[in-house]
Symmetry: C2
Subunit: 222 residues, 2 copies
């Protein structure tokens, strides 16, 4: 166990999507600490129903990037249209974010490591599977591990961002990475040293817009 | 922003389910820091499609606990049967865990705060909704916030555990907490000061059992 890390609240409050990544390699010991962070995460029944494929092979990374590019193009075009009604700083900020997304769309395969997160639903108790509304509970046993990995990236100075668009290309992605039939993919996280400032200030709603007292919508005064 | 927190890797490596909680209240500033940690979490498109209801009212907590108790009884009985084939230390360990779960099942409503996590799927891009297999991607925009809250609990010395069984009682839970039609529940996290040692050593698979190199199943040597 390595406890040489930054303070918890500093990591959380500076974890941002870093989408411009240098191609330089990530040292093994840095990658080890990021993966260890993921491994520490809790999961339902401690089943740890996830696996990470750390894709470093250049050809495989290029192939994953080639699957991502057209998906981002479609998604990004829609997102650009959603910006048109915005004005002033809100618009500039959103456009800057989309520029970074475009860069990632073009260059994902050049990140030195792509962390492909897989999960097996047979090892999950998905308590909201039959409620007639979108189910999310399976994610409760995998995304804590992703969050741990991203927080570790902050501590290590490594850029990262969580992408889920490759679910639209799950079949070819599974074939490419030899993922067994009963395992599926839930995120691809490119990581690498940042081109620009890396992690830093984030923009989030204040606690009193997100949290309520006793019943939904009732102001929480702390 | 408050950065007086423990080291990131220390928090992650000692976050365990703490199921025996004292009824003593949690100070407002401690609860504020736990909720702030959740608010810092990333989400798809920065939509933050989740809300937390911090249930502190005694009657409401009791009512939530009364919904949880029978659900745990059913789940726990099944879990006890799953222990029968285990031997020695593995069995003792599992039984000790189930004893703690039984305690929580009986006493959830006595925890000083129940954090009820809600989400709105209309604010999520669920890229794996139509794949003909269980969907988890919606969870990618809520469970990072839960993980942040749990890590903050470690830093604050507050016990916590993530439960999802109350999805089986979503309709009455929504009615009780006045949750609007288009919002749903994905976790109830009782928090409180620990009766026993609180957070501490955890048992997880090693990185090399969870992580692969380039393709699924290929050993990763770091």
């Amino acid at each position: 166990m390595n406890n040489e890390s930054i303070a918890l609240y500093e990591a959380m409050s500076t974890l941002r999507a870093v989408r411009r990544l240098r191609p330089d390699p990530i040292a093994d010991e840095v990658l080890q600490r990021i993966l260890q962070a993921a491994a520490w995460a809790p999961s339902g029944g401690n089943a740890q129903p996830w696996r990470i494929i750390a894709v470093r092979d250049e050809q495989l990374r290029k192939a994953v990037g080639d699957l991502y590019r057209p998906q981002w193009q479609v998604y990004g075009e829609n997102a650009r249209r959603g910006v048109e009604h915005l004005q002033g700083e809100a618009r500039t900020k959103r456009e800057r974010m989309l520029d970074a997304c475009d860069h990632l769309g073009e260059h994902m395969g050049e990140a030195p490591v792509l962390l492909v997160f897989c999960f097996n639903p047979n090892h999950m108790a998905i308590t909201d599977a039959e409620l007639g509304r979108p189910s999310v509970v399976g994610g409760g046993s995998v995304y804590p591990a992703l969050q741990n990995a991203m927080l570790a990236c902050v501590s290590e100075g490594v850029g990262c961002t969580l992408t889920t668009l490759l679910c639209y290309e799950e079949a070819p992605l599974k074939a490419l990475l030899q993922i067994p039939d009963d395992w599926y993919t839930c995120a691809v996280m490119p990581i690498g040293w940042p081109v620009r400032g890396g992690h830093g200030p984030i923009s989030r709603r204040p606690v009193n817009k997100l949290c309520f007292a006793d019943t939904f919508g009732q102001p929480l005064e702390l």
